[in-house]
Amino acid sequence: MTDAAQTFDDLAIADPTSTFGGIWRSGVLAALSWAAAALITVGLPDVVPWGSAKLFAGLTAGAAAVFLVLSFVVQRLGRAGEVLRHYGPWFVAVGVWLALWELATAKFGWLPKPFFSPPHGILNVYVTDGPRLLLCIVYTLRLWSLGFLSGIVVGYGAGVALGWSKPFAYWGMPLLKLIGPVPATAWIPVTFYFFPTTFGASIFIVALASGIPVAILTASGVGSVSRAYYDVGRILGARSWYLIRRVAIPAAMPHVFVGLFMALYYSFAVLVVAEMLGAKYGLGWYIQFQTAYSGYANVYAAIIIMAVLCAGIVRLLFVVRDRLLRWQEGFI
């Protein structure tokens, strides 16, 4: 081994994603921290019992065992192994966090019931209230997808019309500019009066929140397409309809996606508010309902589900965007 390679190896030890003597360091540390969390959970008594302590200890101990095995085999896992190694420090930190969280809540009671819940308290919610939470997820996803999809379809159509047609822009743009900045939640009292059902009103609110950014960004995208592209299209014999479909719409796509991302965040924000107003099920309803009964562990459990759902949907939109905007410079 050359001196340079030797130095390189020394440096690598300081890097937590690295391996040492064939053993993945972060893997071992993660196994230790998760095992500590498991031991604390079963070893010390709860100040006030939360339930599911044994199940939680079993799961964390299982995770610790998996990390221990991975410490020795991670190098042979190729691409997946690389990803695991990249997140090694995170695995360690989560184990430490779980252990400290157990101590601060269930074991020493520094952070008291009912406002704080230990991790196994949240797990207990999933165990005991699983079916109802599942139903809430279904209701929330139904409301969100109906509202979001109808909102972006209408918003997109309106945006193309506003960006393309002068009369549409003349009458529509001032209205959009006036109504657009009003937070969708401000419409809640009136919509609940206008719509026969709460569900209809909730869909409308979510649709409004998602539709407006898509309309604005689509209109500006279609309106800012370089005239040179239209000239080329016209020279090659294209009429209006072809220019809309094959020039305006694809050229505006990068703008449209900015609008779609804004629409996603707005739709999540109003979704919960809409569900808190007279819905029968749904994660927003669940949170409000449980708050009334001081079921804060249930509230945390619902928030975690929401975080995972929203992050997943955002991720999905990124995948769609990367596929549709492959043609943009720098994407390949």
């Binding site: 000239d231 080329v232 020279i235 090659l236 014999g237 072809y242 050229a251 390949i332």
Partner: protein, 267 residues
């Protein structure tokens, strides 16, 4: 990415050879409105081209050459005068006369194949004529790049795609607005030769705007020289020499001196 191979001029792609058409520009004047003021750009332009002729238009920058080509293409209507192509007045764009810009202006969201397909698809004849797309790409030496996207092409390749996108429609008149103006000098030389080849085999009428006297003399059989804005025709030169031409041939050098003189550069 390397430049594509030289052109297969004797290719068996004869469906793309429809012949040229006559151009008549009669007393055309044009003005723009710029923040209230009138900007006269063309002043009584009068010239014609015979079917299959290759005419170069030379003139100082900003004199109105591009404007004239846009008018002939039918993208805009002249303020005064008349333009006829093939005996018929021009009142709107038509794929039988195609304008190629200095910027290739390829649709960046469409693959090379989709770009070349545009004209056929827009006219609704894609089903019958799909075979032409491959032919046109082969003609400009880019058969292997059909699925590439514009950002993956060099400047010269992009301009070749723009040419294929025009030629696939078998235009009778090709309007070229400094099509090689932004290319490096070697690519430029290659494409000048290719342009002559395409013109000879397809037989379209060509109007080439350029600011390069040598380029005009290598390609065209007639050179029209414009004045400063508002453009008038200052002089016309006939240069009926066989191809390929050589930039240092004595008659070309002599003609070059005369044209530069007409443009106001004493040599």
């Amino acid at each position: 990415m390397a430049e594509a191979a030289p052109l297969p001029l004797a290719a068996d792609t004869d469906s793309l050879a429809g012949g040229g058409t006559a151009v008549d520009v009669r007393a055309v004047s044009h003005q723009f409105r710029l923040s209230g003021a009138r900007l006269p750009v063309l002043d009584g332009i009068e010239f014609s081209a015979e079917p299959g002729e290759f005419v170069a238009l030379l003139g100082p920058s900003g004199c109105g050459k591009s404007t004239l080509l846009r008018l002939i293409a039918g993208l805009e209507r002249p303020t005064a005068g008349e333009i006829a192509v093939g005996g018929r007045p021009v009142d709107r764009p038509d794929p039988s006369r195609i304008l190629v810009f200095q910027d290739p202006t390829l649709f960046p969201w469409a693959s090379v194949r989709q770009n070349v397909t545009t004209g056929l698809e827009a006219r609704g004849v894609l089903k019958q004529e799909r075979g032409r797309v491959g032919e046109a790409l082969a003609l400009v030496g880019l058969a292997g790049f059909a699925d590439a996207y514009p950002h993956q092409l060099s400047g010269g390749m992009a301009q070749r795609v723009a040419l294929a996108r025009a030629l696939v429609n078998d235009p009778a008149l090709l309007l070229l607005d400094e099509p090689l103006g932004k290319l490096d000098s070697l690519t430029r030389l290659t494409l000048q030769t290719e342009l002559v080849g395409l013109w000879q085999r397809n037989g379209f009428t060509a109007l080439l705007v350029t600011h390069d006297v040598e380029e005009a003399l290598l390609l065209a059989s007639r050179i029209v020289v414009f004045s400063d804005r508002p453009a008038r025709i200052n002089a016309e030169f006939r240069f009926d020499k066989p191809y390929p031409r050589h930039r240092d041939a004595p008659d070309l050098v002599a003609m070059r001196r005369r044209i530069l003189g007409a443009l106001g550069f004493a040599t």
